[in-house]
Every structure is written in C-alpha cells, then in structure tokens.
C-alpha cells in the first residue's frame, strides 16, 4: 500500500448498499459501522470497518483495524449476543475491506494483539452461541485485520474482483521479511497458491464457501445486490444447518486437493491421540 493511494471505500459502499444506512453509532468510533437490515425476511446485523481520515489514532486512518476499531467490534458483537440471548439468533454479516491491522509504536504499547484477540473472541463467541456469522469479502482481507474481522465466521464469501485479496502481510513488508523482491514474491504466487494475493488463488485453497462472480464490486447495481443478498441467505441457511465450528473449511474438494496436509495431520493425530 502506498501512502498517496486513497483508502478503499468498498466497505463503506457495500455496507450502505446492503443496509441503506451509514451505520454510525454514538458508542462506537466512526470507523466501525453497525446496522440491521433484512435478508430473506430475517433481521440481520451488518458490521464493517471503514476508513476515517480523522481517526484519533493516526496509524488507523486508512481502514486499518486499530485499537479502537478492534475493541468496538468486540463490544458491538457482545452487545448483539446479549440482545439475542433469549430469542432468535440474528445472522451477523461482517463486510470485510481491511487493509491491515494498525502498525505503530502506540498500538503495540497499548496491546493491539489483545484488541484483535477480543474481536476474534467475540466473533467466535457469536458463532458458538448460534448466530450464523458470514464474512463477505469486498476488498482486502489482510493478516491480523482479517483474523480480527471475519476469519472466525461460519462461512466466508468473496466477490470475484481483482481488488479482493487475502494475505498474511502486505507485499513490501513480506518482501523485506523473506529477503525477496516484490517481483519475486509475485512470481512465487503464480506458482504457489497460498503465497498469492488474489482471491481466485485463495479460492483454490478451499476456505471459501462461495466465490461470487459477475458482480460490480465498486458500484453495485440492483441486480448485483440481489445476487449478493441471495448468496448471503444461502450461506446463512447452510451455517444454520451445520455445526458451530470451522470444520467445513476442510471438507470442500478444493481443500482436499490443496490442503491435503491439513487433513492428513488431523487424521494421523486422531490415530495417535489415545495411546495403544
């Protein structure tokens, strides 16, 4: 990410399009948006992290998941769980367009690792409490930001668009840490699917519930929204019918092909778990 590039607005665009609301909440920072809207007749809760150029933490002004964002996600999710404690569990849709976690001295000092853990904890707790949790990837889903906002979902959906990316680290930093050039990293990504940044390579890993094709990701029209709502509804139904853990991520044909080792480790460990 270069500093002069303007921050992605996709999270805001899709949040507004799907909820008809700006999602501002007095108790949360402007960078965390929360609103309810119906999906196939069910009241559903949508949550997004969006850029705020005036964020009080300078390192979190470009759509990063910073300290305030992560704790606000945790707070809003726990509020949602509490509201539905005695009734129907609303679906929760995380709209994901997060460039990274916030990188900064202050962030480390103040424990951004715990803030992100708290957000992941709250998403997982919602899932375990019976909320169908769906992550909808409309832009970047990077590293700790994705772990905090979306990766604990029952089902992950993604728009098939070049700007939709999943990775563990931005390209420049990954190049420095692995002592490779950016060009070399890109070449490796073409050959080695888990190292690629693009969503089509990610889809080959078998972690996605669905890759949604043919949608205008920058400016969704009525037909695009109808298509995405339909995909959200079927993902919610699938989540309600399934278990509350993340086991389905190992079941797809794509997972069996490219994540065979993940499956093999589990099979052989189960054999050895109880002593003969």
């Amino acid at each position: 990410m270069s500093a002069d590039e303007s921050p992605s607005q996709r999270g805001r665009i899709w949040f507004k399009a799907l909820t008809g609301s700006d999602g501002l909440r007095p108790e949360s920072p402007r960078s965390v948006r929360v609103a309810d809207a119906t999906l196939g007749g069910q009241q559903s809760r949508f949550i997004a992290v969006v850029p705020d150029a005036h964020n009080r933490f300078p390192r979190a002004r470009r759509g990063q998941v910073g300290l305030d964002e992560a704790w606000a996600l945790a707070s809003q999710l726990r509020r949602t769980i509490a509201e539905d404690q005695d009734g129907a569990r609303r679906p929760i849709v995380a709209i994901v367009d997060v460039v990274s976690q916030a990188y900064g001295r202050l962030e480390e000092l103040l424990g951004i690792h715990l803030a992100c853990a708290a957000a992941a904890d709250a998403y997982a707790s919602a899932r375990l409490a019976g909320h169908p949790v769906i992550a909808l990837l409309v832009g970047k889903a990077m590293s700790g930001a994705f772990l905090a906002h979306g990766y604990q979902a029952n089902r992950i959906l993604a728009l098939d668009s070049p700007a939709v990316m999943v990775h563990a680290m931005g390209k420049q930093a990954a190049a420095r840490v692995t002592r490779r050039g950016v060009a070399e990293l890109e070449r490796l990504g073409e050959r080695i699917a888990p190292m690629a940044y693009d969503i089509r390579s990610y889809a080959r890993l078998g972690l996605l519930h669905r890759l949604i094709e043919g949608v205008n990701a920058d400016a969704p029209g009525a037909a695009d929204l109808e298509q995405v709502r339909g995909e959200l509804c079927s993902a919610i139904a699938d989540a309600r019918a399934g278990t509350r853990d993340l086991a389905t991520r190992l079941h797809s044909p794509a997972a069996r092909a490219l994540r065979a080792a993940s499956i093999e480790v589990r099979r052989r460990l189960a054999e050895q778990w109880d002593a003969a």
Binding site: L109, A117, D121, A124, S125, V177, L269, A270
Partner: protein, 289 residues
C-alpha cells in the same frame, strides 16, 4: 538489569535455562517426569509440502512438538513451538498440528475427559512462504482456544528468545493465563514490520532497549497483558504452569474484558506523549481480573 539477577547465585547457577531448551526439551521439562508421549513426532515425517518448492529444507516435525502427559497427575497436552526452525513460524503443517491437537483436546473435554492444554509460544507468526495457509491455520487455533476455554483454562508461556508475534500474539491474548519471562516479547507486529510500514521515526527496530520496554515480558505483566513474570528457570516455569491450571477458569477471560479495556483505552490521548513507564502508572488497576 542488575535488580533482576537473583540474589542467591547458587540457585542462579543451578537453574536450568528454559530459554536455551529446544521445544522438545521444554515439553519434557514441564510435564511430570517420564509422562511425556510425543505425537506426530519426527518419524511420522509430516513435513511442509510448500518449503521444498521454494528450495528451503523442510523439517520432519515442521517445528512443532506435540506431547501428551500429565501435570500433577492430571492429563495434559503441550504444544511447543521450535523457535529455531523458520523463526517458529506457522505453516500449514505446524499450524494444523497445534489446531488439531487443541480440537482433539476439545473433543475429550466435551466427553468429560478434561485435559489441560498448554501452549509454549515461540513464534514470529505466519510463515510467509506458506502465507495464506498459515493464516488459515491460525484462525483454526484461535477458534479452538476459544471453544476450549469453556471447559478448561488454556495456559500460554512466552519465554524467548523469539517472542510471540503476528496472529499468534492474538492466540496469546486468548489464553486464560499467560506466563512470561523478562526475555519474552509479545506484540502484534514485529518491530521490523512496523519500521517497514510506518518508517524508522515511528519505531527503530534496532533499538532493543526501546522494544523490550514496550513489549517485553516485564512490561506486559506490569500492565495486565500477562499474568505471571518468571525467571528463565525451567523448574520455576513448570511450577508456574501448574499453578496457572490450578487456579481454574478466569471469571471473565482477558480477551472478553471488553468494558475494562475499552475504558482504559478511552482514557488515552493518542496525541499526548506516552511511554512504557507512564502506561504502568495509568493501567495500575491490578492483574486480579
């Protein structure tokens, strides 16, 4: 650092350094004597399928040692990360080993066969050569820790020298109890990555004193981001692990203490100077939560 040197030099000289141990030695040093049984050991040859494609030599245990055994006679699982192999990074196999072990521990707990899960964390986070598979495995590890905590405390140890970073720092944040040494570091983003992303004026990654003051074990314990500060002594750490499990579950897990930490954060002015010492005076509401 002279204040941190134990006064009794004989004890100091007699101690077994935990930091200097391999992951396998650490697992054995903590479990009850003679009780350790390694699972998916080197002879099972579950190696990374991705490293050889990049001309990097794989290791027969992929840098994670799993052992079952007992702690004070109670069933326990240790997942120990070998910091000396690829910086303790989480690849597909090493990550899956930890996730799968925690998932089986959860299955046992759900069948009324409680088992104490212990994580010996020594990791830079995702192994970038396996990027998205490491990230996915870490999400599985998070999920399993959170589900397990409903049954048993999950205890983590960060001893050093690698420390605990990236997505695995979140795993440390999810632990019910966290034991650290002064040599440990716990942070989301490694200093080099912050310097790369935000510039040397934000953080000078070569300034070790500054780094440890911000994210070192002593500071983390002082502000309630870790529970127990121990010397680099295998016997002391083994005792601290037993004490952490014996305390039982937390009333509210640290990563679920949203109101407490939101209030702490709301009182911080990002534009005002803040260093590690000042934070200790601000966040001095005790580690008893």
């Amino acid at each position: 650092m002279s204040a941190s040197v134990p006064r009794d030099y004989r004890r100091f000289l007699a101690r077994a350094s935990f930091i200097e141990m391999s992951a396998r030695e650490r697992a054995r040093a903590i479990l009850d004597a003679g009780s350790a049984r390694e699972l998916l050991g080197p002879f099972d040859r579950l190696k990374s399928p991705w490293l050889p494609l990049q001309d990097i030599v794989a290791q027969a245990d992929d840098g994670v040692v799993l052992a079952r055994g007992t702690l004070d006679g109670r069933p326990a699982l240790v997942a120990a990360i070998e910091g000396a192999f690829q910086g303790g990074s989480m690849g597909e196999v090493s990550g899956a080993k930890i996730a799968a072990a925690l998932e089986l521990a959860l299955r046992d707990c759900e069948r009324d066969r409680p088992i104490w899960p212990l994580l010996l964390l020594e990791t830079g986070g995702v192994r970038l050569q396996e990027a998205n598979l490491g990230l996915a495995a870490i999400a599985d590890i998070h999920a399993a820790i959170i589900a397990l905590r409903a049954h048993v405390p999950v205890v983590g140890v960060i001893a050093g020298p690698v420390g605990c970073f990236g997505g695995m720092s979140m795993a440390a944040g999810l632990c019910s109890r966290l034991i650290v040494t002064r040599q440990a570091r716990l942070g989301m983003n490694g200093p080099e990555v912050i310097e790369q992303e935000a510039g040397v004026s934000e953080l000078d990654a070569s300034d070790g004193g500054l780094i440890w003051s911000l994210i070192g074990g002593e500071q983390r314990q002082a502000v309630g981001l870790a529970d127990d500060l121990q010397e680099d002594d295998a016997a002391a750490i083994a005792g601290a692990v037993r004490a952490a499990f014996a305390r039982g579950p937390r009333r509210i897990e640290r990563s679920a203490q949203v109101e407490r930490f939101t209030a702490r954060l709301a009182a911080i002015q990002p534009s005002a100077p803040l260093d590690a010492k000042l934070l200790r005076s601000l966040w001095n509401d005790g580690a008893t939560h």
